[in-house]
Symmetry: D3
């Protein structure tokens, strides 16, 4: 368990990643059989972004952003930096200068289980971040960590080279070995959702379209129309 | 306490609801003698909306959105779906497809003690939601609950047919039997606030306008002008 | 420890405060040797503001905004009202009318360890607030507190007459006696950051620019290039 | 909605309440078809108590314990004081002196959505409390509230005269009209649990006793015995 | 703002500190006119302790306990170590070995805005701690901080040499200059509480003893005895 | 990713597990180079336990304890059930009956990222649990999950067959492949700590014993003895 920076070009299929990005987090999470979603405390620092890319992972002590610099140097165009901390922290480990360094290399965003700062500048650069907090709290550059090792963040594990999808709904990780089939499933689901959307816009009930009336009935849920039109007071 | 979908057309007076919407949450809460406000963890998923309407209530197990489909089918134009869960959950129980189904029926928004997903799509549709969380976490359709029964959400109880007002300040519920008098009180308060606003813009002090100087004095608060201009250091 | 409203014109150097505002929270916090930052739970009610000014402090019981009225009356152009509560509260102690009273006097914003309401109106007025919560919960005007005494808010102490800087990154307090030297240090740091920004945009690595490669090496972090291109599975 | 102290002797059947106490919170909650449980943030201030009794309800502004004194005066032997606040508070509204006043009248405990103080003294008196917090924060006696009106606490509504059961597992409310049938159901459940306990102690599997093997199979869960004895690595 | 260990023998009057300890946190907080109480997230790691002593303060970066060692060396019998961190942390900065070092020097306990570990050992040693968390998370000894400078912890400021009182109700700080008069006031309050206790045990109502009936009446709270004995349903 | 119950006898070396138990969580975490510790929100339901054993893992939907029954059936003496949920939940998924079933099979405890109920009974049985919450909230037995697959809980990943150590300080996981060497390192550390303890009890300073004086000096921390004995007021 020595600290190490792993140099690796391995990543998910780029065309499949583009499909994942097109599908968005909610659809990809469904296509992955409802797995891979990070916990909802990781929120975008500004609304309206949707990105997908290869995960370059970082494990760092709290209050120190040395390893983020080392990670950015390992990035290639289309990558997403994914940062876990060894213990809880909201310190502002990522800001404008690291974002410039990352954007110059083609990095499309960051997911970080800590704080981000320079919000106005990141928004102006259109460099999106998903984080636990916004905080100007400065950090040092003096404690070691690792780059491109397996990490746990937001309740899921991420391997370097996995695909990450992030938008206003949150962040989902797709294991590298499942990226292609997940992209296919997500695209199929988009088509299904499109048909459903059209049917709903035509005024059809989702109860019928999804066959829910039978389920409701089988669960013993009954319909009740009060004679006086008033909903009954509960015994409560 | 069997699970039931209550079919009911009962609701608050529409004209009074329009007045409540015009007044907004903070003023309605004051007009209701500072009652009815849901706890502030229920936040809008995007800023700038203000809605009012009849509450169609849902009580559902966590992680299941079957009953939301049943509830939407019970809605008529101007309604607001209000969803409580049987235990704590942040799962994304409501998203684009349910929002389309709801909007087609004229539903103006949702208040939900759980998560919402498809944020970008809901914003594009201008379908507002007030929720505990944003989360893409998918749910099943397999456990029963009820529609249009009394629920507790955000620390207040809501009866089906009550009026709901929601904006950037939060969510307030007005009991159906109090809607008309609350609308009248809210409109009166708007007028009072308008006069106060004008006086303040004229440069008058709120201390005088509100008669606070006497209160301050009666409470023993004194004014102190340090001789050297420096605020005294506290003994702390 | 009687309740008191201290009348005082003492404040930080105005030109230095303008420099602090120009630098922003993150840079000022660094210039202050990473001190003075309030905890990140204090968030702006809408994005995009950056203010700096003299602190007029308030210590108030929860659920009562009487002392905010007294504080606003003590303000002069360029001031920022900074409000601590005697115990935890999210009540909406500050809203449109107080904001009008404040803005008429030239107050540029508020920092409050409680709730704010009338969000839409404050945004329309462009009156920024940093708060613990947004809540319409009304308050009374019946319990005493103090104005312009030392307070603790967000984990830092604030003296009346200190300088406050607030933007999307949070809120930092600069002790009055340190405002000039901090402004100088912040301006120097802006220049340093500008040079670094240019070098990064030229494609140079932050590892080199900041001399981090030697640090990494001295900490025993090694680079590893897997022969098969695959990042090694952890023993985990 | 004027503030009022309702004087009422109405309460649940005493013998049924004794049965509820004997059954405990978890069993009563099950007997009530999994309703009525307060959210788990309400915790006992010391372990090992189990009480049941008639609810005397209080709705009070935060930071003020005037109405608790009024409530205690309305209590009779076997009662439980149940306190909701108009907005969030952790102030120490209840302590030794109120506990003595309550215990003298035969009150068996308190459930309070705020703070409690004098922990050592309450433990020594064996006066149990379920609260949101422990805090020495003092309160005033100057703002009105109500006694014996319907309240919402811990996500459930409580009517004066309902039965309350509280132990180390939490707090459950049983509507007055359901107390007798719930006590019967709880007693039956105790017997069922007793038989199940004996069977488990005999070494029988809960999978068989509860008929879970068929459910597992119908849900498509399969058993897998790796040929090498090693659990397979997930694709994750 | 250089990092420094201040060597100082200054402290509060020992006899007065003994009186504060005798009175306990809630009474001292009242005697201090309801000031000085730390926020209730600081909890004892085991119940039943009550200590008072001179504050030896520490300001430390998160994840590093170097300065705690330096602080313990500055302690004399009767002292309490009070630790603030520069940013949020739950790391286990204090454990058995530091506790032994402290206890050998006569330190009576610690208050720390971070984590504590070796709980079983601290309990066996009867060395009490009030902390934000219990966590085994290890820390380093490599970043500087300060000892015996003013700090902010739990929402209050503490000067080295102030008196600290801590028990099951929380932690309160008494400024050194106020220790004697606070001890006198606390002792007087104990006597008052003793008389009140006796009167309550005699069965007298706190409403009468504290003169609350007149307050209730002046606030417009009325008593209502329903003719049918039933508490009225709220309009809710 | 089908749901599966993996049948496996693979586990860590029993003698090494006994050593880990003897060392306790804090020491094992250090021996594991400060890895493997679960986040501190997982707390014991009663104090004073220390267990170690083989992990039998469970991944379950929230609000359903079907898979816990399946997991217990897979347990052998010395095992610890470790339960992750697919999304956030505090429901009381584990109680007395499951505990009996587990204890009969020799299971020594449970670690669960949800709620536990029947606290009094578990304490009486001396069956320890580490959980996110205590809650009586009942659950169903109707949704599938898996047993003995890799899971993430408390911010770390756990493989079936890993070793778990849990005590009052929290929970740590030791990968199966590292159990022997970690046990050796933990035992060595115990000896080191024992020598340190003795030296401290002899009155030696930890500053000297750990060589911290040189570190402090190299970090530029200076000692300051005020001439008047008073600690200097900060510029703050």
């Amino acid at each position: 368990m020595n600290n190490v920076v792993v140099v690796s070009d391995v990543g998910p299929d780029e065309s499949a990643v583009a499909d994942l990005r097109h599908a968005g987090v909610a659809t990809v999470h469904e296509a992955l059989e409802r797995n891979g979603l990070m916990e909802p405390y990781l929120r975008p620092i500004f609304p309206g972004s949707r990105i997908a890319g290869r995960a370059v992972t970082v494990l760092t002590p709290p209050g120190d952003n040395l390893m983020l610099h080392a990670a950015v140097e390992q990035c290639r165009p289309g990558d997403i930096v994914v940062v876990a901390t060894k213990s809880f922290s909201t310190d502002g480990m990522f800001g404008e200068l690291l974002a410039i360094a990352a954007q110059v290399r083609g990095v499309v965003g960051i997911v970080i289980d800590a704080g981000v700062r320079d919000l106005a500048e990141l928004r102006a650069m259109n460099f999106p971040a998903w984080s636990r907090a916004v905080s100007a709290q400065g950090t040092v550059k003096g404690t070691p960590g690792s780059v491109n090792i397996p990490i746990v963040i937001g309740g899921v594990s991420v391997q370097p080279g996995d695909a990450i999808v992030a938008d206003d709904d949150g962040v989902v990780v797709v294991p590298r070995g499942l990226v292609k089939e997940t992209a296919v499933a997500a695209t199929a689901r988009l088509e299904y959702e499109s048909r459903l959307r059209d049917a709903l816009l035509d005024g059809r009930s989702s109860m019928e379209l999804l066959g829910l009336r039978a389920i409701l009935s089988s669960l013993g849920v009954s319909y009740l129309t009060p004679t006086n039109g008033e909903p009954p007071l509960s015994e409560r």
